[in-house]
């Protein structure tokens, strides 16, 4: 175990420089809700901890001509109380069921994305928003679709010297979204979670387009392209939605663990997908 140096820079350039200088021996902490636990369990061997919570460029939410930018160090609580969230039902649903108020006050959206635990609730909602990650380093910035960001169980595409700085998505009118979750206890790890975003055809009778993503059923949070294809043009009817949801097994690969058997999770993925789509469609009704 090495001695740990703690840095809390006030600007983005310093963060980038610290990461460039220290490489894999440095880790970024925002709310620390996942990282501190891993440190305490001895799962990480670090020499520098870079706390980004004081970097103003990395906190807060901006809305500019339909583009939403969420700073990576924005807490769940700040996200939950922001006006943009009231327009995205799925985000509000997800924030509400994350752990407890203490965790929501400290935990951040960037922390969730970078921790890349597939059971984190906010991730499938961001996939349904087709959000991108803005990644920075001393050599510049790059933009990566979020569904390419996590590339394995708790693994990401981030380089050693890179930092997730902003989550970006385009606001889309007329879409309704939702997130539904099953957990052993309220606020507990998701057994399964399903997010949906739906746009209805004029008259609200058929689904014009749908996006579905799930938590806790694969190595990464996953989109469900088979379900999305089955929903495209489907009649907005419980039986038709349930039929479409039933193909979700093709899109996921759950494992047996403490939260449930793979078989149960697959069954729940179907049920929750159906419920998420119905809830999202309800919110999409009467849209412009």
């Amino acid at each position: 175990m090495t001695e740990l140096r703690y840095e809390r820079p006030g600007n983005l350039d310093t963060v980038r420089s610290l990461l460039a200088e220290n490489g894999s021996s440095a880790k970024v902490a925002a709310g620390g809700q996942s990282l501190m636990l891993m440190l305490r369990q001895g799962l990480l061997d670090l020499s520098v901890l870079v706390d980004i919570s004081a970097v103003s460029e990395l906190t807060g939410i901006e809305l500019d001509d339909g583009t939403v930018r969420i700073g990576a160090a924005t807490t769940y609580a700040d996200l939950g109380s922001h006006a943009i969230t009231s327009r995205v039902g799925g985000l509000a649903d997800a924030v509400e069921v994350i752990a407890d108020p203490q965790v929501r006050n400290m935990g951040t959206i960037g922390g969730a994305v970078c921790h890349a635990d597939p059971s984190l609730d906010v991730l499938p909602v961001l996939l349904c928003l087709e959000a991108d990650a803005l990644i920075g380093s001393t050599s510049g910035t790059r933009r990566l679709p979020l569904d390419e960001f996590s590339n394995g169980y708790m693994m990401t595409d981030l380089g050693e010297d890179e930092l997730l700085e902003t989550i970006v998505y385009e606001q889309r009118e007329a879409w309704g979204s939702s997130y539904v979750k099953l957990a052993a206890v309220a606020g507990g790890w998701a057994t399964v979670g399903a997010a949906a975003a739906v746009r209805l055809s004029p008259g609200d009778e058929t689904i014009e387009s749908a996006r579905v993503a799930l938590s806790a059923v694969d190595d990464t949070p996953v989109r469900a392209p088979s379900v999305e294809a089955a929903l495209r043009g489907a009649v907005l009817d419980p039986a038709d939605v349930a039929g479409a949801a039933r193909v979700v097994g093709e899109d996921i690969d759950p494992i047996d663990d403490l939260s449930g058997s793979a078989g149960y999770k697959t069954a729940m993925a179907e049920t929750l997908t159906e419920r998420a789509v119905i809830a999202a469609a309800e919110r999409a009704k009467g849209g412009p």
């Binding site: 175990m1 052993a184 206890v185 309220a186 507990g188 790890w189 403490l258 149960y264």
Partner: protein
């Protein structure tokens, strides 16, 4: 017996204005706790204090062949490292469960101590393990201990095993036969059998175990919460091979919660800290982290029940055969005995059973040890018994309410296992008032055809205190000071249940001294004051409260006499109220003016109590659940807890006890278990162990307090903390049976279990 009449219970202590007992007085400790001013075990600190950490076994059964501590001891700041067999106490070379002690370190801070633990080199030689109690008793099983090993545990007793399938690893054994079981089953028209198993639930106390051990000469002083100080003093002294009065247990200013977890010492807490303090000559703090709290303390015993009941077609119980097997885990601690004896007694405390046969065995395995947990044995027995009786009633086509009513004990009944009659029994009033309230507040059938709903009830009981006279005594000292304040030295531990406030209310009732002027102290084990058992077994109000009552009466007599002299009046005419002595004519004097110069500013009185009895407290609880068949999720809609508490000295705190019990037992029924795979815990942390929050509590919850006036208790009171546990889980599981048509016999019943059962894949 005509059950349709509600018996009005006498109440010797009516509620009226100006009384101190019988009212929901605000807690006297709340402000300090809410403002963060209270100081608990981990706040105890000493000059030069070291911090300990323990190297724990990741194997379940092994011989420790080698321990090398030189590298650990070379780390700057490390003062001492000790291998298992060098520890004080009964440690041999074998580890017997995951988390058992291999070595321990004391260092200048906790971080260094934990680093040093990681630097200890050791070699374990794996032995065969056994994890299923049912296998552990057989002759093929590896021997973990000789039968009935002597670990200086309390409650160890001689026994004669009358079952030749119990060969090995027997911790304790009980058997009882009442009447003639064979003819009892012959008389029966319906016979039903069932098997049940209870979960390994953990207390999840917010405050984890912590001690500061220090040596004053050859006296060991342990500064910590321990709910049963005098019994633990004896256990620790014998375990460490010391004289009794060389062990002093000093409680911190405020104690942490217990729920049984802190009733007794833990092998890897006090002996380890004591050894390190002795080796270094400095005070040593040992504070368990959350994982240690799960693996190095104790859970409720996983207990296997087999029941067979015979009833007549009219619904009278003719025979009950009950077989119990409790998983003691790796070490004896005297608690297997309590699980077995409570499992033995409870059916007879609750129902009239003319023919009864009981056999119980507690068994060593290589699992995390079982220990005391709120309503020891009774909680899991009642889950099994009242689930089973619900099945019996359903099988026979009887109304579950009337079936229970027909067989319940009554006041005055003499139970076959004790010669003492039941002095107070409000169980039938619990049933009536519970049902009445439940009918009023339950939601009833759902409008949503996709949801399943059901309701159920269960009765349960647990005894108050330990009884037996000398085994259940308590002292109290009251020091009334001329500034109007009063210090009560008692054995009552304020674990959060409100005992300080109850003590103050009793004093206020007798002396008229306001609760706000009372400060409650907990005396240490070597004080001149004695107490047999501490704040366990729901004896705090009943036994300790009786001692406080005795002392307060003595103080009141003294104050009345002094006021009589001052007023030149008959002391019997003096009323003590609001910190003053008053005469009927309006004359009044402040109690502080009754001091005489020779008092030295303080009046000291003593009181004592001695409990012969163990009055059972009864409850009937009712639950309504909604089940989502598409997920298996169970929503607890409505819960009514009707509980006979004898007399509620503080009704709000009685409700608090009931609500807390509902929370604990809902975890037992639907949510929580420390999952072991081959003895290794899979969820020894609060992220993975599903401890519930108010969000899982019933949407509608009502507490009905029944007062049956227990003549032997202060103001008619009997216990509440532990008895409140028993009926909760079976009420929920009976409701779940009603909703789903499936009997769940192995809680916690998770959504997946319910889902599988509704899909037709589940058993039972």
């Amino acid at each position: 017996m005509d059950g349709s009449h509600r018996q009005e219970q006498p109440r010797t202590s009516p509620r009226r204005e100006g009384r101190s007992v019988g009212r929901s007085v605000r807690r006297i400790d709340s402000q300090d706790k809410v403002l963060g001013r209270s100081r608990y075990d981990p706040d105890v600190t000493r000059d030069g204090m070291l911090h300990a950490a323990i190297l724990r076994s990741n194997q379940t059964h092994a011989v420790v062949r080698e321990i090398r501590t030189d590298e650990a001891e070379a780390i700057p700041g490390v003062e001492c490292a000790v291998g298992r067999t060098e520890l004080m106490g009964l440690f041999d070379e074998r580890v017997r469960h995951y988390g058992d002690v291999i070595a321990a370190v004391a260092a200048v801070d906790e971080r260094t101590a934990r680093r040093a633990v990681a630097a200890i080199d050791y070699r374990l030689e794996t032995l065969d393990s056994v994890f299923d109690a049912r296998e552990a008793v057989t002759k093929r099983a590896p021997r973990i201990h000789e039968n009935s090993p002597d670990f200086q545990q309390h409650a160890r007793h001689a026994f004669d095993i009358q079952n030749d399938t119990f060969v090995k690893n027997v911790d304790d054994y009980h058997a009882l036969s009442v009447g003639d079981i064979a003819s009892g089953f012959d008389e029966a028209d319906v016979i039903h059998e069932g098997e049940y198993v209870s979960p390994r639930v953990s207390h999840c106390n917010l405050g984890s175990h912590c001690t500061v051990a220090e040596w004053e000469g050859d006296t060991l002083v342990l500064n910590q919460t321990i709910a049963s100080p005098s019994r633990s003093q004896e256990d620790i002294a014998r375990y460490l091979g010391m004289e009794l009065d060389r062990v002093r247990i000093q409680l911190p200013p405020e104690v942490t919660s217990s729920f049984g977890a802190k009733s007794l010492h833990k092998p890897s807490l006090e002996p380890v800290a004591a050894t390190l303090a002795r080796e270094t000559g400095r005070p040593v703090k040992l504070w368990f982290d959350r994982e240690e709290e799960f693996i190095a303390t104790e859970t409720r015993h996983r207990t296997y029940y087999r029941l067979k009941t015979g009833i007549t077609s009219a619904g009278d119980i003719t025979a009950l055969k009950l077989d119990v097997m409790a998983d003691t885990g790796g070490y004896p601690n005297g608690v297997g005995h309590i699980v077995l004896s409570n499992s033995l007694h409870r059916p007879l405390d609750l129902y009239r059973i003319p023919n009864y046969e009981y056999e119980g065995v507690s068994v060593f395995t290589n699992n995390i040890p079982g220990g005391e947990y709120r309503g020891i044995g009774s909680t899991q027995l009642t889950f099994a018994l009242d689930s089973h009786l619900d099945e019996v009633a359903r099988t026979a086509g009887l109304d579950p309410v009337e079936f229970r009513r027909r067989n319940m004990v009554k006041t005055g009944d003499v139970r076959p296992h004790t010669e003492l009659p039941i002095e107070s029994c409000g169980v039938e009033e619990c049933l009536d008032r519970g049902l009445e309230t439940f009918e009023r507040i339950r939601q009833g059938p759902s409008d949503d055809s996709k949801m399943l709903r059901g309701w159920g009830l269960a009765a349960g009981t647990h005894t108050t205190a330990y009884g037996g006279g000398d085994a259940d005594t308590s002292d109290c000292r009251l020091t009334f000071r001329s500034d109007g304040t009063l210090v009560a030295d008692t054995a009552a531990l304020e674990h959060g249940q409100g005992s300080d406030t109850v003590v103050a209310q009793i004093i206020g009732e007798e002396t008229g001294i306001p609760a706000s002027m009372v400060h409650v102290n907990r005396f240490a084990t070597t004080d001149e004051l004695k107490d047999a058992l501490g704040s366990v077994a729901s004896r705090t109000t009943y036994t300790i409260g009786a001692a406080v009552h005795d002392a307060a009466s003595n103080l009141a007599t003294e104050l009345r006499e002094r006021a009589g002299i001052a007023f030149d009046a008959d002391p019997d005419q003096v009323a003590l109220q609001g910190g003053a002595a008053n005469l009927p004519g309006g004359a009044s004097v402040s109690l502080t003016d009754l001091f005489e110069p020779s008092d030295g500013g303080r009046l000291v009185v003593y009181g004592e109590a001695r409990s012969e009895h163990t009055p059972p407290s009864y409850g009937v609880h009712l639950a309504e659940v909604a089940v989502d068949p598409a997920t298996g999720h169970v929503d607890l809609l409505t819960f009514v807890a009707a509980q006979d508490v004898g007399y509620a000295i503080n009704p709000k705190m009685v409700e608090g006890q009931l609500e807390g019990a509902i929370c604990h037992s809902t975890e037992f029924a639907l949510f929580s278990e420390l999952y072991l795979e081959a003895g290794v815990p899979m969820n020894a942390n609060l992220a993975d162990y599903p401890a519930i929050s108010p969000l899982e509590m019933p949407d509608q919850l009502a507490c009905e307090i029944i007062e049956s006036n227990e003549e032997t208790g202060p103001y008619g009171a009997k216990g509440i903390g532990t008895p409140a546990m028993a009926p909760v889980a079976p009420a929920i599981l009976n409701a779940l049976r009603d909703a789903t048509g499936t009997r769940f016999r192995a809680p916690p019943v998770t959504p997946e279990t319910v889902f599988e059962a509704l899909q037709g894949g589940g058993a039972t």
